[in-house]
Symmetry: C2
DNA sequence: ACAGATATGTCAATCGTTTGACAGAAAATA
DNA sequence: TATTTTCTGTCAAACGATTGACATATCTGT
């Protein structure tokens, strides 16, 4: 049997109330009693039952983190960074991989509510705004506008699009393509395209896009990219909306004997440690993953501390960096 | 205010007991009442408070998953697979990234106990066996012997080592190196080396190793590998104990103008989807991630259902597959 | 010696649910 | 009609903690 508070009290020779007071630092407690109680706790290897504490009104110290697929290195690193911050503050992470499945996301949302989590970090977006508003929980969102009441944290995708494209322009490209996810307008990541489009226009060049589905199989995507390169169109620069696509493009070019960067320059987006370490030649836009995680967590804490408090800002745009490498 | 059981009772015009009976399918309930209760629940958007239920004696339906760094694609895919299985059965996953930090792992272990998780899947191993035994929780282990009482699930690392090395031998290599983690004997992954060593010996060749730390920085590791290749030693085949190392080696060889597979053949280990998709030329040993996850989860369920039951097997060794590609 | 601060204890309510004991009513069966 | 079986309700105790009210005892310092 797991020891309980009364067992500790008995062992320490005091009342349950006193033990609770020690644990919660409440009321007057002499150092001597405090020591005796701690000794008893250690001896019995006592852990307060968090269920009981939370039921009584305390926080659960649990945060629900809803993300699409952590098998994507970017989300894996983001989740790892979030976990790291939360753990330091004694929070636990219920990880919810919602994938592309809105039913699953809905189930998870209900589940998180039933489990009385203190807050939610939402990075997966298969559901409408209303669904998120229904639950009166502190929420912060990554990469998506949910509502005025929900702060949103994103990288400065527009800036990233500009930086990437400008790098291609500066490198002398005259036929710059945008290759990436077919994003709905309004979605923050579509700002990458906007940055691209504006920069291309400012340079007096034309917009060319070859959009491919984010969740498409990589093999099919690779084939598509090879077709693009062999289509006879003039292409000397490509801004890919994510690094994984950029890697596929790089491979396609190599296979076709197209020199990178001589004949074709490439810039990706995301800049995970994984890609930086294992595809170090790829020029890319680096999202500030630790800062993103830090901001998400910090804002969530604020919401938890005071859910009613009006937000100073609704939107937090974090600067990105161009990592100039051999592919540009 | 969140609705509670009594609110549902009131709305449905029946007693709390009846509502509870409906929820728990307990005792006699007419279909009519059942329908009325469900209607009331839906109308109020009622979710039973899992804290209260669990406190009362029900399971928490929470599983602690302790892993080292999910930024490693292998663990990311393993965790994703585990999460997927658990969610189907209504379990939630508390993800604990213990990294290389034994203090953190200890904190997590205590925390999981305090949170009354139903069981633990342990894949991170910074702590001694005793620490795991102290907590009377159902545990299954990935890739490590904890004790007779804890079932262990692993890929057949020995078989993998053999397959990989044999592939190199068959391809005509005469100077085959083992490059990888400096693993302590006894650890399941050291069986990869054993398989390598036995196969090399059987072919009448000599064992050569160049071990490098798993958690070493990739840049340093890459440098080491380049040194290895330029050291003047005769090397025509390398079995890397993980794919990431294999990728670094591949890059080192390319940079040095060493032809792969003409001059140097390489086989890796892990075979994640990510690597298969984005480094498709790499020959590797594929760990059966979905099966590993399935087995871990299934065994954990059995332990939860009956913690006392003697284990049919203590160790589950899952077969691996050689993925023959251009690097061999 | 006495006020006030400090320390500890007892008791009971509370959090939201489950579940057993028991009673009584309605419905089904004999 | 009598007897089961089925349905629903009331009541209360539990789960393991927190916390407020209140009483009492032991220290301070003056």
């Amino acid at each position: 049997m797991r020891p309980k508070l009364t067992d500790v009290a008995e062992k320490a020779g005091c009342s349950p109330t006193t033990v609770s007071r020690v644990i919660n630092n409440y009321g007057y407690i002499s150092q001597k009693t405090r020591d005796r109680v701690y000794a008893a706790m250690r001896e019995l290897n006592y852990q307060p039952n968090t269920l009981a504490r939370s039921l009584q009104g305390k926080q659960t110290k649990m945060i629900g983190v809803i993300m699409p697929s952590i098998t994507n290195p970017f989300f894996a690193e983001l989740v790892a960074a979030i976990e790291d911050k939360l753990e330091v503050d004694g929070y636990k992470m219920l990880l919810c991989d919602a994938g592309q499945d809105s039913e699953k996301e809905r189930r998870y949302l209900r589940m998180l509510e039933a489990n009385q989590v203190d807050g939610i970090i939402a990075g997966s977006h298969n559901l409408g705004i209303e669904e998120y508003q229904r639950y009166g929980l502190p929420i912060v969102s990554f990469d998506r506008d949910l509502s005025d009441q929900v702060p949103i944290v994103t990288s400065d995708n527009y800036q990233g699009g500009c930086l990437a494209t400008q790098a291609l322009v500066d490198a002398g490209c005259g036929h710059i393509y945008f290759v990436g996810n077919p994003v709905k307008t309004g979605h923050p990541t579509s700002r990458r395209f906007d940055g691209y489009a504006d920069t291309v226009a400012a340079a007096g060049l034309t917009v060319h896009t070859a959009r491919s589905a984010f969740y498409e199989l990589p093999a099919a995507k690779g084939r598509e990219l090879r077709e693009l390169l062999t289509s006879g169109r003039k292409i000397d620069g490509v801004f890919c909306s994510d690094d994984l696509t950029a890697i596929l493009l790089l491979k396609a070019a190599k296979k076709l004997g197209i020199g990178v960067p001589e004949d074709l320059k490439i810039v990706g987006f995301d800049g995970t440690q994984l890609v930086q370490n294992y595809v170090p030649e790829l020029a890319t836009i680096v999202q500030p993953i630790p800062d993103l995680a830090g901001t998400l967590v910090k804002l969530l804490y604020e919401r938890i501390a005071d859910p009613e408090k009006k937000l100073a800002q609704n939107s937090y745009l974090l600067p990105v960096k161009l990592l100039r490498n051999q592919t540009v």
